[in-house]
């Protein structure tokens, strides 16, 4: 089982915290909205990914389990 980052685009307000906490997998577009890498979260980044999820001020970032 793997995990992928999912952005809820309605909830996302472009705070940008996720890109600061997880620059390996999240970049910001030119308007400040996150672009999550289209790949499973590597094992070595799971802790950082969880931190980015729990630190999103808008609760817009999630880790989705993909079978």
């Amino acid at each position: 089982m793997e995990e992928r980052l999912r952005v809820n685009p309605v909830a996302c307000a472009g705070h940008g915290a996720c890109a600061e906490l997880l620059p390996e997998l999240i970049t910001l577009d030119e308007w400040g909205y996150p672009i999550a890498a289209d790949q499973p979260v590597p094992r070595g980044l799971r802790r950082e990914a969880r931190r980015a999820v729990s630190n999103c001020p808008a609760l817009a970032l999630a880790l989705a389990r993909v079978a």
């Binding site: 309605v10 909830a11 577009d29 308007w31 909205y33 672009i35 999630a62 989705a64």
Partner: protein, 451 residues
């Protein structure tokens, strides 16, 4: 639309009375709305009331797909609704927010009882004792539908109570999650849905939403069966569909056609192109430059290519186009396709619900860049900006509005590439500046009106 209702003449003469030929959904002749008595005289009482499982199986055998644009298999939704707990709310979707489409309101006006039959069948499949008919605001249409619902109540033909709910006149009002939002008393804006399946109302109740034309087909399949349904259409895309045609002479009509009909037949196009570059196709209504298939989330096709294609997803999807909700527009040779697309792109940007950053940031910028490219001697940086913004907007919204809008705009840049070259040199092949593609008149600047 406000109070104007343009009633289409039936475009195809029926081969024979009864269900063998087309039209099936519209009356064989004339445009007189069918009351309950006339409806029952033509089609008889509703079959499969009391056996929802048989209905789902028949819909599966018929290969009926949703006629609201997404072409999702109806039987799969009916099965999901039958298994959902608690029982889903059932809604017939007649929002028809697409300004170029008028087939749903024409159907609701002329054959309301077919739609209401289908709504009852869907309610039964979902074990629901109530159903909602969600229809664009239009006083005459609502009055007529209220009358049809009352007729049925008086005759005692229905098990489920039907409530008529007005849809705001917005492009996205009929998006499934926007409809569900509206039915729970919130604004009719799309929702983020990470999980696939039936959309859910706020407290957790699922919803079964079907386009009104889909419901009318379901009512006929219940009566005449899957094999009959498949007499029209293709093997992979069976049945008939309603199409809204915008012809080069300026005429608009709603017609019922078999899926897979040639676009040349549909629009009266010659199959041999003319014009210096072979890019203009003569037609009964005048020379045609390009054909828009699938409405404002659809795609432009060069007229010469369109003239060889059928109205079927199997042929259109590889080209980035789709049947959608059946809007087909033949752009006259005298109109500039870039200018037409820029006008619609601006409308689409204003119709963003403003919820998702990539959509509300991207679409207005894309529309402005396209408007610039549609003018004389554009700065070519606008083209690069547009491409970059299109890449950022597509696929990053809660609903498909940015994806569909970008698909439509990119198809214009492809199909009208030669026109873009003319504009770079300060020229334009358009000779008629009047707008061709329809947009709502007097659109309010306020984004508050979503209820």
């Amino acid at each position: 639309m406000t109070d104007s209702l343009t009633l289409p003449p039936p475009a195809l003469a029926p081969a024979a009375p009864g269900p063998a030929g087309l039209p099936r959904l519209l009356p064989a002749a004339g445009t007189v709305p069918a009351d309950l008595r006339a409806h029952l005289a033509r089609h008889g009482p509703l079959r499969y009331a009391g056996s929802p499982g048989r209905l789902a199986a028949e819909a599966a055998a018929a290969g009926l797909t949703g006629r609201g644009g997404a072409a999702f298999p109806v039987a799969r939704k009916l099965d999901a609704a039958a298994q959902a707990r608690p029982a889903p709310l059932v809604a017939g979707n007649g929002a028809e927010g697409e300004p170029a489409s008028s087939k749903d309101r024409s159907l609701l006006w002329i054959s309301p009882h077919l739609v209401l039959d289908g709504l009852q069948l869907a309610a039964e499949a979902a074990r629901s004792t109530t159903a909602v008919l969600y229809v664009q605001r239009n006083q005459r249409l609502h009055a007529r539908l209220a009358q049809a619902i009352a007729e049925r109540a008086a005759a005692g033909v229905d098990a489920a109570r039907v409530d008529l709910v007005p849809a705001p006149e917005r492009f996205l009002a009929g998006e499934e999650s926007a409809l569900v939002s509206r039915l729970t008393g919130r604004p009719a804006v799309p929702a983020y849905r990470p999980v696939r399946g039936l959309p859910r109302l706020a407290p957790g109740r699922p919803a079964l939403v079907q386009n009104v034309e889909t419901l009318a087909h379901l009512a006929l399949i219940a009566r005449y069966g899957a094999a009959w349904f498949r007499l029209a259409g293709t093997e992979s895309e069976p049945g008939s569909m309603l199409a809204t045609l915008h012809l080069p002479g300026g005429r608009t009509s709603v017609t019922e056609v078999p899926l897979g009909i040639g676009l040349a037949d549909l629009l009266g196009l010659d199959t041999v192109p003319a014009g210096p570059g072979g890019d203009i196709v003569p037609s009964a209504g005048g020379p045609v430059r390009a054909v828009l298939v699938g409405g404002y989330h659809g795609a432009w096709l060069p007229a010469a290519e369109a003239a060889r294609l059928p109205l079927a997803n199997a042929a259109l999807r590889p080209l980035g186009a789709a049947v959608g909700a059946g809007v087909v527009a033949a752009l006259p040779a005298g109109r500039c396709g870039l200018a037409e697309t820029a006008r619609v792109a601006r409308y689409l940007a204003l119709e963003s619900a403003g919820q998702c950053g990539p959509c509300f940031n991207g679409l207005p910028r894309i529309a402005a860049a396209l408007d610039h490219l549609a003018g004389p001697r554009p700065d070519q940086r606008a083209r690069a900006d547009l491409e970059r913004w299109a890449g950022l907007a597509a696929g990053r919204g809660a609903c498909h509005h940015p994806d569909g809008s970008v698909r439509f705009i990119r198809s214009a840049l492809r199909v009208f590439a030669a026109e873009a070259g003319l504009h770079e040199r300060g020229r334009c092949s358009g000779t008629d500046p009047r707008p061709f593609l329809p947009l709502p008149a007097g659109r309010p600047a306020s984004d508050a009106d979503w209820s």
